[in-house]
Amino acid sequence: METIKLDLKHYKELLKSYIETQDEKSLYGAEQISKSFIKNNILPEEIVNLHIQSIIELYPDLNKEIRHAMNFLLETMISYGLAHQEYQTLREKQLELKSEISIAANMQETLLATTIPNVEDLDIGVISVPAHQMNGDYHHLVKSNDGLIGIAVADVIGKGIPAALCMSMIKYSMESFPDQSMKPKAILESLNRVVERNVEAGMFITMFYALYNPTDSKLQYASAGHEPGFYYYAEQDTYNEIDAKGLVLGVSPDTNYNQYELQLHQGDMVILLTDGVTECRNNGKFIEREEVIEVIKKYAHLPAQETVNQVYKHFERLQNFQLKDDFTLIILRKNV
């Protein structure tokens, strides 16, 4: 109330000076006062009323047609005032939601955290960046007691919170599997049953699971409809698609998965990714998978972690720093 009284006096003075001189200084004052109105939640109908009062005090002989016209304006402002108040409330609600989601995102980060295992002959680089606050991509690297390295990359069709919730389930199911069932084929088959039972129809998860054995440098893998990765064959300096067929998780309870095997040699690279990488859009057009290879080639001389970081930076810029989908890229390079 006090501010209104103060503003009333000030407003009247500014209005008077403007009517008399039409100078820019009064208009600058009007700008300042309008900011003060917003800060103090003064509604439009109150401002119009303030205007009416000021002008009547300045010109007591103001003709009655103008007075009526001013009142008419005041009436039309009422709904705007309501809309403004509603907007304020919704904005507060949005801030609340945002902070809740950011807490959830932090929690997810902790839940899904994975540490890159130390493997003597492998240089491993990993990057996973969510498009929104919560990540619907999932990756996990684990070293079992017998020294085998398990590598999982998964993507929920869809993004945001539902996808993220789903991923936590995947992680905990995988952790509950006993060590000896770590064969990619068996992992996907077990996970498929979990997903089929627990996730609503219409939500699908794709996953690529690989198991690396450092003693013979063999990589066994299986895929559940996941975006194919690439294999770099150092001796011939060629990039090939990693061929693996399999149905996405959660479609039918007794899906069987094929298991494949690759022999890694010195300098070879295994590139695993999610469709957030290959479906980067440049000016509305999807990029070609070959373009992904081109970018990887450009940075392939760097250590694996540096390569994935640079590739991410490239695509981040390409998409004007607004990811359309969660982005996950893993590179394994055999260095001896």
């Binding site: 109908e45 109150e46 009323n49 009416i52 009142n71 005041l74 009436e75 009422i78 709904s79 309501l82 809309a83 108040q85 509603e86 409330t89 919704l90 609600k93």
Partner: protein
């Protein structure tokens, strides 16, 4: 307490009559111009809800006085379909999103006190008060 005055709502024009009566009473007890406009808008909204969803009903006005303040009490009653989920009807953005109007949250904002009762199949009763400032 003065005698109650009511306006029956059946046709769209009755909304105008209700607005006018509300404004006149408000003016008479010393409500300022801005609040008069707010009361008229609230009455309009309430009466429009009756006209649109219940078909018919009435809006009544009372002048109320307590030891330290004076105000206008507006009561709206209809025997229409009622509102199933009041919490949802009171939620922001529920009725305004399509530009339909202020909705119930708007009425609540325009007035100082707000109360609503509704039974599905029996009707709705809304009581609102605006005190003279």
């Amino acid at each position: 307490m003065t005698t109650q005055s009511c306006v029956m709502i059946q046709k769209e024009w009755d909304i105008v009559a209700a607005r006018q009566l509300g404004r006149e009473i408000a003016k008479k007890i010393g409500v300022g111009t801005v609040d008069q406009a707010r009361i008229a808008t609230a009455v309009s909204e309430i009466a429009r809800n009756i006209y649109l969803y219940a078909g018919k009903g009435k809006v009544c006005f009372d002048v109320i006085e307590t030891i330290d303040q004076k105000g206008i009490l507006i009561t709206a009653e209809d025997s229409g379909p009622g509102i199933d989920d009041l919490s949802m009807a009171m939620e922001d953005g529920f009725s305004t999103s399509g530009g339909l109007g202020a909705g119930l949250p708007g009425v609540k904002r325009l007035m100082d006190e707000f109360d609503i009762k509704s039974e599905v199949g029996q009707g709705t009763q809304i009581k609102v008060i605006k005190w003279v400032r």
